[in-house]
């Protein structure tokens, strides 16, 4: 092995041609990865991190091109390399793992044959290649490789598909592995397993890794060194520890500050924000790329591009104010909202919503699939109930049942303010409909793209408040301005707004009828972290002002912990744990909650012992007998109640005041094993 870095970018510039104009995506990016090192590139959407990943493979989209600079693999420039040489490299030395493993596999070729292709490219015969596939799959901890080899991509779960892709990438014993958001979109427990696997394989093989992620926690756990990208420029770089403990670029500082960390709570802490939004693709800058959003900005920042400044051992930042960045003033959006509309609200904590034995079965191919099973929850006035759980847990279905968008099965009750509501929307009276509203995950789908912002909000005011068209429009403007959507944007269509602004419009609409309860279904998961903070602050303000209750659905435990007063943990359509936010987070936990919490990579670097959750989430059409968690339960073995777990479904019982669990294992026993 040579001493040259495994990968080196030298002043790399990449541009995409969009409508005939070249737009810069990477601006003079330089970094190098030593053999065997794991280097992380982190940044928000549109910062160019994926482009960097694909550039390392010399694979750019049809409209992309390298305009200057060089990419060196073990000292060899691959920019000018011939196609056949680059193919040789891809076959033997550089591999890649990408986001969306399910689509990365060919849907019509058996898994075994797809992996075998890599070996065949190295010159192995078909039978030798297939034999090697088995070993490769065992290496990525696939338990039943011969069975998996015969499958097609759609028959694999997301985690399994990603293992196959990793097996394929490692099949050529590469010296450089490029991983582009390899666990984004996977459930938390699956993500944790895949990351564990990658760490283990890396230790064994000594492969250098370029690891791309938007998730600072993941980067912190996976990488030796980190580079922070903003608007296509590398703004800071250093050892992982240094970056997280001593961030020296205002952007890095802001990014770390605006993440809801463990311990922060809406009642005591307000989240920092980074004002503004990331620049559009290919925006031209005379000075620093971050100047428009920087709290430390000076005139020279806008006119002169700062050089990389050394701030510590191999720790550099591209800023004039590296010394002040760490202690820069907190950016808190102090202007609070002004849309108060509920003067005579009830006292916080009084019971508002009672969900009683809520169930829903969908019919699929003649079979009943129980998506939501006997869910009972309560929400008080001015309270936030957080719903957490992995995919298939039924979070969104529960929300839609409460709102009446789906009709619930008989025996279910949704009681609002003491009134038992009809199962479906069209049977509820208009006041009750207006009392419960929703903010959806994806504002692009939730806002009619043909309507103006004013019309979207105005129509809701008109219908839910019974105002005249003119009055509704006035009220809509008030509401929007209160949510800090500037008047100049009121006549815009949603497509003209940034993601954060779109979500503000959606929130304005949800609040149009002065609701008592708003369901927030992953309202920030489509947004960058810097925008997420402003949306969370807005929601908290609205709650404080009007005493609005929230049901907050999220897969991000940090966000849920920050905003929730109570938390319900769902698994396969059932509530497995429900109680005060602190209780649920501090434990003792339900075994599933425990596993879920342990799978989150924290940004504070604290290493928690991983409680693995093996196997795949079962299908709700064919749930396991007894406790639905038992085939995967980390605490069942040795609990002494195994016979119960496998045969009897536990009921949701109050294990201590205000703390409910669906588990056969006694609370004290759980406490003992969990504190060991």
């Amino acid at each position: 092995m040579s001493d040259a870095p495994a990968l080196e970018f030298r002043d790399l510039e990449v541009a995409y041609t969009v409508r005939g104009i070249d737009r810069e995506v990477l601006r003079k990016v330089s970094f190098s990865i030593a053999p065997g090192e794991a280097y992380g590139l982190v940044g928000e959407s549109g910062c160019g991190k994926s482009t960097a990943a694909f550039a390392a493979m010399r694979y750019l989209p049809r409209n992309g091109k390298i305009t200057s600079g060089s990419i060196l693999f073990e000292g060899q420039d691959i920019v000018g390399m011939s196609t056949s040489d680059i193919n040789t490299l891809r076959r033997s030395a550089i591999s890649m793992v990408y986001q969306n493993p399910a689509t990365a596999l060919n849907p019509t070729i058996r898994i075994g044959d797809q992996v075998a292709e890599v070996f065949a490219l190295q010159g192995l015969s078909k039978s030798d290649a297939l034999a090697k596939v088995e070993q490769a799959l065992i290496k990525v901890q696939i338990a039943d490789p011969t069975k998996v080899m015969r499958r097609y991509a759609h028959q694999l779960s997301g985690g399994m598909a990603q293992r196959v892709v990793i097996a394929m990438a490692l099949a050529s014993n590469p010296r450089l592995l490029v991983m582009d958001e390899p666990t984004t979109g996977l459930d938390a427990t699956v993500e944790a397993e895949v990351l564990d696997l990658v760490r283990k394989l890396r230790k064994e093989s000594g492969t250098a890794v370029l690891f791309i992620s938007h998730n600072l926690g993941v980067i912190r756990h996976m990488c030796d060194r980190v580079g922070v990208l903003y608007a296509g420029a590398l703004v800071e770089q250093g050892a992982t520890e240094d970056i997280f403990s001593n961030p020296s670029h205002p952007y890095t500082v802001g990014l770390l500050r605006c993440i809801p960390r463990g311990g922060l709570h809406k009642n005591t802490d307000r989240l920092d924000t980074i004002p503004g939004t990331p620049p559009a693709l290919g925006t031209h800058f005379d000075g620093c790329v971050f100047a428009d959003r920087c709290a430390l900005v000076e005139d020279k920042c806008r006119t002169t591009q700062p050089e990389m400044v050394t701030v510590g051992q191999s720790h550099v930042a591209r800023c004039f104010h590296t010394d002040k960045a760490g202690s820069m003033p907190r950016a808190i959006d102090t202007v609070s909202v002004s849309v108060s509309q509920n003067p005579n609200r009830a006292t916080t904590g009084t019971r508002l919503l009672d969900i009683d034995h809520l169930s829903k079965a969908f019919t699929q191919d003649g079979h009943a699939v129980h998506v939501v099973n006997d869910v009972s929850l309560q929400v008080g006035v001015g309270e936030t109930l957080g719903l957490v759980g992995e995919s298939g847990a039924g979070k969104t279905t529960i929300a839609k049942l409460i709102l009446g968008l789906y009709g619930s099965d008989s025996g279910s009750h949704v009681v609002l303010d003491g009134k038992d509501l009809a199962g479906t929307l069209n049977k509820r009276d208009i006041k009750d409909v207006g009392a419960m509203q929703i903010v959806f995950q994806n504002p692009d789908q939730a806002l009619n793209r043909r309507h103006s912002v004013t019309r979207i909000v105005g129509r809701a005011v008109q219908k839910l408040r019974g105002l005249s068209a003119d009055d509704s429009t006035d009220r809509a403007h008030e509401l929007l301005s209160g949510m800090r959507v500037e008047a100049t944007l009121h006549s815009a269509r949603p497509v003209q707004l940034s993601g954060g602004l779109k979500q503000r419009v959606a929130i304005s609409r949800a609040f149009a009828g002065a609701p008592q309860l708003v369901v927030c279904d992953e309202p920030t998961s489509a947004l960058d972290v810097s925008v997420q903070a402003t949306i969370l602050n807005l929601l908290v303000d609205l709650q404080k002002q009007d005493g609005t209750s929230f049901i907050f659905i999220s897969h991000d435990l940090g966000v849920v912990r920050y905003i929730s007063d109570k938390i319900a943990v769902l698994y396969l359509g059932r509530v497995v744990e429900f109680g005060d936010s602190n209780r649920v987070f501090q434990g003792p936990h339900h075994p599933y909650t425990e596993a879920l919490l342990s799978s989150v990579p924290n940004i504070d670097g604290s290493v928690r012992k991983r409680i693995p959750l093996t196997g795949v989430i079962p299908s709700p059409s064919n749930p396991p007998s007894g406790c639905v968690l038992h085939p995967r339960c980390p605490r069942m073995a040795g609990s002494g109640v195994e016979h119960l777990c496998t045969s009897v479904e536990p009921a949701l019982t109050e294990v201590e005041p205000g703390h409910f669990m669906r588990c056969h294992i006694p609370l004290d026993q759980l406490r003992t094993v969990q504190t060991q």
Binding site: N87, R91, T103, N106, T108
Partner: protein, 318 residues
């Protein structure tokens, strides 16, 4: 799989049944008296009564419908009003001729159109792509009879390369000569169908070229050519099966005009004769037969698609 095929077969039967009902509705219930229209304004009441009795037109409508369908099930296509003989004797040989023409046309159309679509896709955005897509669809919107006449004028009359009729007549009846006579009519049909099939093929290939699995293949180190052959074509050509089946109705519709221009005694010529003579029994039977052919092709395409597509195959076998 068996259940899937039976289910599809059931749907096909329902479709054909509905076609019968629609056809019957069109000829018998819409304003316009079949007997009077066939016999013309000069017919006397006696003529009309006799005619109605002969063709069961005096029975209640539902009885007529069900006895007609019952006859169809027993392969009895009824009696021609014009020739007073079994419709099957009229349609049988004609369908034979048309099948020959359609088969020759199909053998030319399918491979050429798919090749055109693939060629356009791999050269996306280049001149050849525009030529195939814009040119192909522009040709497709020009009616077959216009193409047929232009082709006859150019290659039959002016340059005298091809025969101007599709039927060899008394002359040389070898297979090759028969096919030779069918080339120009087939080209008229090709020009109309090429554009659609090529366009859908192109879309399928482009989707596969842009797919993540194609990227995986290239990043594994496969050459582009190999990646296209191994990973793109199979996935891309699956939807083409459905498109080809969906073009069968247009092919059959196109036969009428082409057969007339090339003086070919096929199904279309018979149908045109029936329209002119207002021979409703032949028309009805002709429509049912053509829809039977169309539905069969769709059925075959459905099953083929399911067999070749692992995702659907799995869904079915569950």
């Amino acid at each position: 799989m068996k259940r899937f095929i039976l289910q599809r077969l059931g749907l096909a039967v329902i479709t054909v049944f509905l076609v019968c009902v629609i056809v019957f509705f069109l000829t018998h219930i819409l304003p316009g008296d079949v007997a009077r229209q066939y016999l013309g304004r000069g017919a006397t009441e006696d003529d009309l009564r006799d005619f109605r009795r002969l063709f069961d037109l005096d029975k209640p409508l539902l009885t007529q419908l069900f006895s007609w369908i019952n006859d169809l099930i027993h392969f009895d296509l009824g009696q021609s009003m014009q020739y007073r003989g079994p419709v099957s004797e009229l349609l049988g040989p004609a369908i034979g001729y048309s099948s020959k023409l359609a088969a020759v046309a199909f053998l030319i159309i399918v491979p050429l159109s798919i090749a055109g679509g693939v060629l356009a896709a791999v050269n996306r955005g280049k001149k050849i792509d525009r030529a195939i897509t814009v040119g192909g669809l522009s040709a497709a919107v020009i009616p077959e009879f216009v193409w047929a006449i232009i082709l006859v004028l150019l290659f039959g009359v002016t340059f005298e390369i091809f025969p101007v009729t599709a039927f060899p007549g008394k002359g040389d009846k070898t297979v090759l000569n028969q096919i030779w006579h069918l080339v120009l009519p087939s080209i008229s049909l090709l020009l109309v169908l090429f554009g659609y099939i090529a366009r859908i093929t192109r879309a399928g290939v482009i989707e596969a070229l842009d797919s993540d699995y194609m990227r995986t293949a290239v990043l594994k180190g496969l050459t582009r050519r190999k990646a296209v052959i191994k990973h793109v074509l199979r996935n891309a050509l699956l939807p083409t099966i459905a498109v080809i089946a969906s073009q069968v109705p247009y092919l059959i519709g196109g036969l009428i005009a082409v057969e007339i221009v090339f003086n070919y005694p096929g199904f279309g010529t018979i149908l045109k004769g029936a329209v002119d003579a207002r021979d409703y029994s032949v028309l009805q039977a002709g429509v049912v037969v053509s829809s039977l052919v169309i539905v069969s092709f769709q059925l075959i395409a459905d099953i083929l698609f399911a067999v070749l597509n692992p995702r659907i195959r799995q869904k079915i076998s569950e």
